[in-house]
Amino acid sequence: MKKYLYPYRYRLAVLWSMVLLNIVSGLAIPPLVGRAIDGPIHDGDMAGLVAIVGVIAVLGAADALLQLARRYFQTTTAMAIEKDIRGALYEHLQVLHTGFHDRWQTGQLLARVTSDLGMIRRFFAGGLVFAITSIGMILIIMGQLLFIEWRLALIVAASAVPLFLIGRKFFREYLPAARSEQDQSGEVSSAAEEAALGIRAIKALGRGPLMAARFEKEAAELRSRSIFKSLIASRSWSGYDAIATSAVGAVLVFGSTMVAGGTLSVGDLTAFIMLQLALLWPIEATGWVMAHGNEAMTAADRVYEVFDTEPAIKDRPNARAVERSEVRGELVFEGVRFAFEDDSREILRGVDLRVEPGETVAIAGKTGSGKTTLVSLPSRLHDPTGGRILLDGTDIRDLRLENLRSVVTTAFEEATLFSMSVRENLALGRPDADERDLEEAVRVAQAEFVYDLPYGLDTRIGEQGLSLSGGQRQRLALARAVVVRPAVLVLDDPLSALDVHTEELVERALAQVLRGTTALVVVHRPSTVALADKVALLHEGRIAAFGAHSELMASSPEYVDVLSAEPEEVAA
């Protein structure tokens, strides 16, 4: 937290001085009013009255201006701080590994970035200032009260004891309740997001009503948690109000007897009670402030949950930088093992594979055999749990992550496009790519359709590229990878959504690109194998066969099983 407040220290210092001044100016007025009544008005001294009123007017004007300036700076500063934290949180989320993102619903992250930060901001801009103002006011008023009549002031002080007890209980109960409400509100956003993202799947099955029922369940849970939280509040705030009022009553009773006994003047008693009435509101509002404080605390907890998650994949301390031009592109897997966290099954159990510079190796294997997992390792989307991967003889973990990822580029099996311009999508991995680079990549991927879109490359494509056809999406994603011109190109089932004819065109154009590039290509059908110099069969976590397609067709029955269409034709 301190880190984010530091840049604003001067502003905050000014702000707090204004807050203090504002308290003083606000409190200075009631005694003057009391003085006016007891003095000039009582004595019929018009000139004296005008003088006091003049002072009040000046003070009042100053108070109003201070109030304005203070509020203005307060919100401006708080908004700026909120923005800073949000930016930092975003940056942190960006570097967290995919495992984290798989597990966290977007709605939960969103709740942290928006409503939780909002809560913290509101507390700092409103609640905290208010709390400190109140405490300041309470202290000053208590001082004044003591000055006017210490015996009466003691009565007021005594009322603090039950207030404290109630407050303590409140803290204990409210914190967990607020937390569980905030968590649930993240669930509700997640449900909303998912139902919007999956709208096609839902509509295709006609499950709108079912989804609505599920959403309703989440929303109902949120409702009951909110109500529960408010019930806790209702039990304590009510006490605050009642105690503060009783204290006024007590003062009036004792004060009156004192006035009757001649130990106190009417003016003093009036001033005392007037001051005490000024105390009423801060005390009544304490419950509200504490609630806000509690909510801000739990919100901060939730935000820190994310901040405290260390990125699992990051640079080693002495990581080396590599230049794209220096990389030959020799990629070696040495006894690579891999298991996902919290899943005991080992997906890769000692993969040994050597890809020579410029060579294209196809990876074949059954559904779920670990092909995608294997090819996600060279760009360090995951780190192996055993063994190592060498690029030109260096363990990739000793290379700087950003360098590595500019050397190794992946086209995923799902296109993962963004609702931005085509250009922005194409240049995702190379923002400085010029028109020619884009054109070339578009040609290789046979994605010329982009020029026929209403605004060409400036057309915004729908969310996840869903305003394109399946094959168009896949070609765009392929072009995006080609634009980067990496030393190692990873293509995960890059042609699955293309028709036979287009597939052949893409293969022909791609073959030229692949000539100088080390490539790993995940394949499912024999036609794609044509791209590769050699094929590796991934079977039970190991490379079970490695060689040219025709060799393997002859020598490896498993390979035939995975990649040959023969038996089907027999069956047909």
Binding site: I29, P30, V33, A57, A61, A64, R70, Q74, E91, Q94, V95, H101, R103, L110, T114, S115, A192, E193, L197, R200, L205, G206, R207, G208, L210, E216, L231, S234, S238, A242, S246, G249, L252, V253, T257, V259, V266, M274, A278, D343, G365, K366, G368, E402, T409, S419, M420, S421, D458, R460, E463, Q464, G471, A497, E503, H524, R525, P526, S527, A530
Partner: protein, 626 residues
Amino acid sequence: MTAAVNETETKTEKHDKHASWRGRAESAEADRTSAEVDDAASIKELRLQSRRLLGWMMRPHKKGIAFLCAILVVQNFTSMATPLLVMFGIDNAIPAIADRGDYSLLVGIAAVFALVSVLKYVCVRLYIAQSAKVGNAMLFALRNRVFRKFQDLSVSFHERFTSGRVTARQSSDMESIREMTENGVDDLVLAGLNVVTITIVMLVIDPLLAAVSLLTFPLMLLLGRWFSRVSAVAYRKARETVALLIVYFVESMGGVRAVQAYRREPRDRELFADLNTDNQYAQAKGHQQNAFMSGGMRGIGHLATVVVLLFGGWQVMRGNTELGVLAAFLLYMKRFFDPLNELVQFYNVLQSATSALEKLSGVLDERIEVAEPEEPKSIASPRGELRFDDVHFRYREDQVVLPGLDLRVPGGQTLALVGATGAGKTTIAKLVSRFYDPVSGVVSLDGVDLRDLSEAELRRHIVMITQENFLFNGTIAENIELGLPGAPRERIVEAAKVVGAHEFIEALPDGYDTHVRKRGGRLSAGQRQLVVFARAFLADPRVLILDEATSSLDIPSERLVQRALRTILADRTAIIIAHRLSTVEIADRVLVLEHGRIVEDGRPDELIDRGGEYAALHRQWEDSLV
């Protein structure tokens, strides 16, 4: 008026600002519901709608709200009683004791004070509990209504609106309304009551003095008017900036793998920072205006004190007014202005909630393009005959996807669609499952126009597996069960077995109860496809549409699926879209599509013999197999 013009200007400016990376959408309205246009008339209309929405939210809680008001009235009395009692005590009880040693009056006052305290306790407690119930119930109803509306809106709406914006409506807009219901409605009502009662009390105790102090009223009104005018503009804008921020956040977190793999972090950060800053300024704007109002109110309060003190003092000196009356008056003034000062802050919250409500009512008023029929027809025993009669379709004005399609698929037939990518295959499938309505022409099932079938009826007969395999957060069993909600476990397992998903599911740590994580991140692409397949199989519809349902499968799994398909599809109508001709071979009939036109139509073996487009494709495919 000028405000509206200004807003339009800033809006266009804003669009330009991000256009460089967001790209251009077909219409400028892409981000908005159609109700949210900027001209003055529609803003007015939107205000009206949002008020109606508020009315809708409150209607079921009339009694609850009346009860709340009653509590507040009592509570207001208790607050009001305090200074009255003080005044009474000072003016009467003290003299009684001093002159006659008569304590009874004081005892009476003490008793009343005790009563007031208890009443206050009860009121506050009841109020908070009851208002939480009412407020949350209203939010609950609103959330559900908005959710259902989003579900009803067409796919094309969602395409331009984006899920991020949907999430924004359901999270940050709701949050703003929640903030309003949770804090301060009581302040508003209390302050209102306060103003009324104090005015009355003041008028009763000293009309002249009261009239003088009420001189400040018009000033307050002016200030309030000013604020509500400027802040409405500010908050409307702020709702939009936060929505943009959320859209960007949701999308870049959803695609975080691509972001990391393509080292897009710096660029993303830059764009996000931009949106973040925009949002910061937009949000701050309303609060800053509020600061002006807050200072102004404070000043007006002091002004009133000055005036009353001068005039009242003068009156006291002339003997027209009692000293105690003036003292009480000044106390009242304080009680009058203090809540108003607090109210200024609540006004802020209120304005923000109002804009949120406007946004939501914009959504609720959005016309549903693919609407439910007024008088739905039903099909008693569906045969599954599909017909396209001169169907024209386009997504965009300038690009016709289907230029007049005529097609009849008899019940029970398995039809395969092949053709180059972008030919319009998926489009045909989407028309059959009524994601869109044709621009002209009719798509019908068993002679009934799809537009005359209710949503529920249509989905019971026609189910599609889309090209994008979407899994929901939940277990594998839950995801399969989506095909037939309430299906017993045996049927789920059976469905999985038929499509060949059983083995891998059993091998997962928790079997069918394994959580698939966000969007099924825990499964491989082929596994996801199998789960979706099992889901469709469980649904058991008359008409089944498979759009590339086997594209990510390995050959052995594909073979298994095909074998299953032969039995599944035997007695139902099916449309299969596939690039792998192995899948096509199980079809009774093949259509070759080119730019939305049918160029060939016939049995697969016939077409191969005929030696046309399909035969060429087939040859090419066979060649690729070796």
